[in-house]
């Protein structure tokens, strides 16, 4: 099966993006180079095509209650115009996916899900939802992320809508470059910026308008490679790497997205038990104290024993260190704990550090 293309495929080719198959989609891993794109996002701005992401909607009376019973965070405590990061869990408390749920109103909830999980999530939600059935809107939306210290100014100049009031994890709707968008102050890079959802037919026009409008600010197109190094420096979890169906949000250090006091939700019972009994393993951020680069699936060793696994790792272009994320026994999870990462048969020393690795 050939990979699917986003509405920005022609734009990526025009910009000489290096296209790869990612989660069944043909996506640019880089244009000029991962490090240059990463640095542009940290110091100026970058634009990412994230149209492969899925969107699932709950609409009508009871939409909020139906969606809220499926996720770990609490949409009832959010206000209209607020988005929440949340886990969509299975009955064992593991992640079906991690999602961002947008509350337009109690009768309209819009959930952004990972591309690789969109069909699975939709089936899972359809099966479990009570009252209001979800609708898979993934084909109806394109998404562009504009990220970096210059992102706000670039988007604001192209929009008649005042965006000052749209704080982090708030959103509004309005025109950008004459195109109707959901304008969301969210992202996956650790920088300020927006994620813009628009109709697929308008995506190409919006993309070029932002690149043109941000030219003087140094905006560059950025690919999945930079997106990964940027999010790793923030220790933002990537589904399939750092979180999956066999790890709970508590183990992943995402207790803050679990609202135990909100009433029942799928997976709650297991989390309650984990809280009472304590965690056996935790997801930590570490840096190597000897030369090397940690990569996903490398074993974590303590006293020669295999005690855990690296889930993500990179040479952080901004932190200028080899940093990684991985699951270790709770006893090894405190800051300063030492262990080794096995790199091609050789143990390389590592130390647990405070995260995010990168601080603005």
């Amino acid at each position: 099966m050939s990979p699917r293309q986003t509405p920005l495929n022609a734009a990526h080719r025009k910009l000489a993006g290096r296209l790869v198959d990612f989660a069944g989609w043909e996506m640019p891993v880089q244009y000029t180079g991962v490090i240059a794109e990463h640095e542009a996002v940290r110091t100026a701005a970058g634009i990412f095509d994230v149209s492969h992401m899925g969107e699932i909607e709950f609409k009508g009376p009871g939409a909020l209650a139906a969606a809220n019973a499926l996720i770990t965070n609490d949409l009832a405590k959010a206000t209209d115009g607020q988005a929440v990061y949340a886990g969509l869990l299975n009955d064992q408390g593991g992640f079906v996916d991690d999602v961002v749920a947008y509350r337009f109103s109690p009768e309209h909830i819009f959930i952004c899900v990972n591309a690789s999980n969109a069909d699975k999530d939709f089936a899972w939600m359809s099966e479990r939802a009570r009252g209001v059935k979800p609708v898979n809107r993934s084909n109806d939306w394109a998404q562009l992320a504009v990220q970096g210290p210059k992102a706000f100014g670039i988007v604001q100049r192209l929009s008649p809508k005042p965006l000052d009031g749209v704080a982090t994890y708030r959103f509004t709707t309005g025109q950008v470059a004459g195109i109707e968008c959901i304008i969301s102050r969210t992202g996956y890079t650790g920088e300020d910026g927006f994620e813009l959802y628009c109709s697929p037919k308008d995506a190409d026009k919006l993309w070029w308008a932002i690149l043109e409008g941000g030219k003087a600010d140094g905006i560059v197109p950025a690919g999945l490679g930079a997106r990964d190094s940027l999010r790793t420096e923030m220790k933002y979890a990537l589904y399939g790497n750092d979180i999956d169906d066999s790890h709970t949000p508590l183990e992943a250090g995402l207790g803050w997205i679990v609202k135990m006091d909100k009433g029942d939700f799928v997976g709650r019972a297991v989390l309650e038990k984990q809280k009472a009994e304590g965690l056996k393993r935790k997801l930590v951020g570490f840096e190597l104290t000897e030369a090397g680069i940690p990569r996903a699936h490398y074993p974590i060793l303590k006293d020669g024993q295999n005690v855990g696994e690296v889930t993500s790792g990179t040479m952080g272009p901004s932190v200028k260190k080899a940093v990684g994320i991985g699951y270790v026994p709770t006893a090894l999870s405190a800051e300063g704990s030492q262990f080794a990462v096995e790199i091609r048969g050789r143990p390389v020393a590592a130390r647990v550090v405070k995260t995010p690795f990168y601080k603005r």
Partner: protein
């Protein structure tokens, strides 16, 4: 691709290493094509001085932001120099693959060098 990116005074392997004879030793690096395919190089794992290397066998590892690749020696011999500069400046492999981005220098015994591809043959290989 310009032929200038594959100097005529070097020899090449199908694994995209280059080799340059300098008296009794051979200097080894990766080609322009290799560095471009790898993307930003962020780490080069070098062998220790004195390590014995064998033609066609792995002598080290090169890592870019996204990928980990083995390095293969074009010739048989003993490592007499390694480019320590790469530990602080691995991007030299991208910037100057044939000069500052060299990787190891090998004192060679075998005759494999002469059998390596010249730039014309390597360009033909790249053209597929």
């Amino acid at each position: 691709m310009a032929s200038g990116e594959y100097p005529k005074d070097l020899k090449y392997t199908k694994d995209h290493e280059w080799a340059k004879q300098t008296g009794k030793t051979v200097v080894v690096g990766v080609t322009h094509h290799a560095q471009e395919a790898l993307g930003d190089v962020v780490y080069v794992e070098l062998p220790k001085l004195g390590t014995a290397v064998k033609a066609g066998e792995r002598f080290g590892t090169i890592e870019s932001t996204k990928a980990v690749s083995d390095l293969f020696s074009p010739i048989t011999g003993k490592v007499v120099k390694v480019n320590d500069d790469l530990s602080g400046n691995p991007q030299k492999v991208n910037q100057e693959p044939y000069t500052g981005g060299w990787i190891i220098e090998v004192e060679t015994t075998g005759a494999e060098f002469d059998a390596l591809m010249d730039s014309a043959a390597y360009l033909k290989l790249l053209a597929g």
